[in-house]
């Protein structure tokens, strides 16, 4: 029989260090907001001829877009992030790039005004808060027949915050190094991770609830450990199957849903970890304190 609960000190240390790194990185790099939240234009351009990344950036600077962010997609297209292009600016930009690099095709273009960006930011924030509150209420309700249902809800939420912090931390590093941005798909992915992470935690709590009801042992620590061991292969297998499809999405669909897939990837790993190593362990520590 594995002793999972015995290692809780190390689990807390690992998570603590991870989150600390994340917070330091958040404080240093911050998060780069995508056009949905900060307004601006995003252009997907494919050139007939081979174009060098740095030359493209140089040419954009020459055309007056010094802050343009240029990313190469897996398909050899370029994603160009620009301030909002109003009126004829887009046509002029296209003409400028065509002069320099030859025939090009604008394969995608998105333009968000500041008004829309402000609305989106506000509503996304509301969604995240409502999701957290909704899940806290639900978990508390689901464990209403347990002693201290609030403990279960809170521990699930702490595990959830843990996952979100890890995701944000890693994304701020990716933002600092690779110019990755927080876009709407990122928020969608994060909310999906929130649901997924709690899903795992609930399965484990459900087993703890069952084992307590059955009265397998009077020692809470043993009950928690048994429940973890019993659900371990399920926790890992489900995460594995989900990771398989997320990896398939990341590898085959690529750039356009890259943020989304990477959030899910990190989130699923963090969520699986936290539902085994954080939420039940916290429950245990809390119970012992009382």
């Amino acid at each position: 029989m594995f002793d999972i609960t015995g290692k809780k000190f190390w689990f807390f240390v690992i998570s603590g260090v991870l989150i600390l790194f994340g917070i330091v990185s958040l404080a240093t790099f911050g998060l780069k907001a995508g056009i949905e939240f900060s307004s601006g234009s995003l252009m997907t351009v494919s050139f007939e001829q081979e174009v060098d990344h740095d030359e493209l950036r140089q040419e954009l600077a020459n055309l007056g877009y010094t802050n343009a962010i240029v990313q190469r997609t897996g398909e050899g297209d370029f994603l160009i992030r620009l301030p909002e292009l109003s009126g004829g600016a887009k046509t002029e930009l296209e003409a400028g790039l065509t002069d320099r690099f030859g025939t090009l095709e604008v394969r995608g273009f998105e333009d968000v005004s500041p008004m829309v960006a402000a609305e989106t930011t506000r509503n996304a924030a509301i969604a995240v808060v409502v999701a957290a509150v909704g899940i806290l209420l639900y978990v508390t309700w689901a464990f209403r027949r347990m002693p201290n249902p609030f403990h279960y809800g809170t521990c699930a939420i702490v595990a959830l915050l843990h996952d979100v912090l890890v995701v944000l931390g890693i994304f701020s590093i990716l933002g600092g190094i690779l110019d990755w941005e927080i876009n709407l798909m990122f928020i969608t992915g994060t909310l999906a991770v929130i649901g997924y992470s709690v899903n795992n935690t609930v399965v484990i709590f459900d087993r703890i609830r069952e084992n307590l009801t059955v009265g397998a042992s009077s020692n809470f620590e043993i009950v928690v450990n048994n429940s973890l061991v019993e659900t371990l292969s399920r926790s890992l297998n489900t995460s594995l199957t989900t990771l398989i499809v997320v990896l398939a999405l990341l590898l085959f669909v690529g750039a356009s849903i890259q943020n989304f897939a990477v959030v899910l990837l990190i989130g699923i790993i963090a969520g699986t970890y936290s539902s085994i190593c954080i939420a039940p362990q916290l429950l245990l520590v809390w119970k012992r304190r009382e």
């Binding site: 333009d111 005004s113 829309v116 459900d206 399920r234 297998n237 489900t238 594995l240 499809v245 989304f260």
Partner: protein, 411 residues
Amino acid sequence: MGLDLQGGIHMVYQADLSSVEPGREVEAIDGAIAVIEKRVDVLGVTEPVIQRQGEDRIVVELPGISEAEKAKKLIGQTALLEFGEPVVEEGEEAKWVNEWGKWKPATATIDGQERELTSAYFKENTFVDQDSLGRILLLFEWNEEGSKLSEEITGRLIGEPLGIFLGDESLLGEDGKPIAPIVQERITNRGQIEGLSWKEATELSKLLNAGRIPIPLTAIYEQTVSPILGSDFVDMSIKAGIIGIILIMLFMIIYYRLSGVLASLALIFYGALVLALFKLIPVTLTLAGIGGFVLSIGMAVDANVLIFERMKEELRAGRTLGAAIETGFDRAWTAIRDSNVTTFIVCGILYWLGSSIVASAPVMGFALTLFIGVAVSMFTAIAVTRTLLRLFVGTRLAQQTWLFSIYAGRE
């Protein structure tokens, strides 16, 4: 299919209703929509969507269109031809400048008010014709006020050029030069514009007849996807989905043996059922929506995994296969139910988020497909996998516990 997969344009316009009488806002927006519809007709888009969003916004979706700039121009166009006369005096302010010189609006005074001559005084019956020399003419008629204005202005300008402008730009002829005919005689009731190509003249005529958008519109959101990019996404997503399913099946079969085979069958059934539901409920399949579907495939086996793990425990405890199946399903059910509720909560919130913002399609698509996916997975795990497993109870296969990845001697 959503615009991101099919290609096309998605525009959101903010209407400025400040000049509209209170209580008539809806009318003004509907008027604008009617004009946009007529203009879009010119483009020949197959299934355009033009509708009001909220109180003061208009959404225009033109699927499958590749000439984004042209469509945008057409929709947002002022659709107002203005007539100009040359600036003669030094220091006089020019509204337009082109290769023929500087221009100011041609004005005349009627009823004591100075008015500019524009196509606002056209009757909405312009048409295109060819004269005996094969020249293409855009023919128009002035309404009552227009006739008076035109009479006075053309009377004053005989022998002088009359500039024609579309918004801030000169109206260019087929030869690429600004159209500015010399006034030959006093024009009262009807007139003609020469020099446009047949196509340009026809479009302009339709545009003029469609009328003007009654309220100022500003584009606040735009998304354009080329149809090629869209079809690439579809191919890539299908590939990702199929490879994902195959890998999951392999894993399930290797790990859970016979149960895994049954779960794989259930997974195929699941995929077919979800796709059928997508057809039935008009789900707009966006890239994110496909992402949600692919993700739900990974999560779909979760219910199966929960049940199989439970069954294995029951088998180890020495129960018969029949009993293990029943208790396994019963006991796993609360975990399946309780855990999926969290996903449903998140889907609901995401759906709200999607419906409340302008760039809504990806979020809503994801929420909807994930919701359908998880709901169907609960159903297939309970209904399909259980039925399949029950078929084995009482057969000789059921004695072979290794088929369920349990070793007889263990524990």
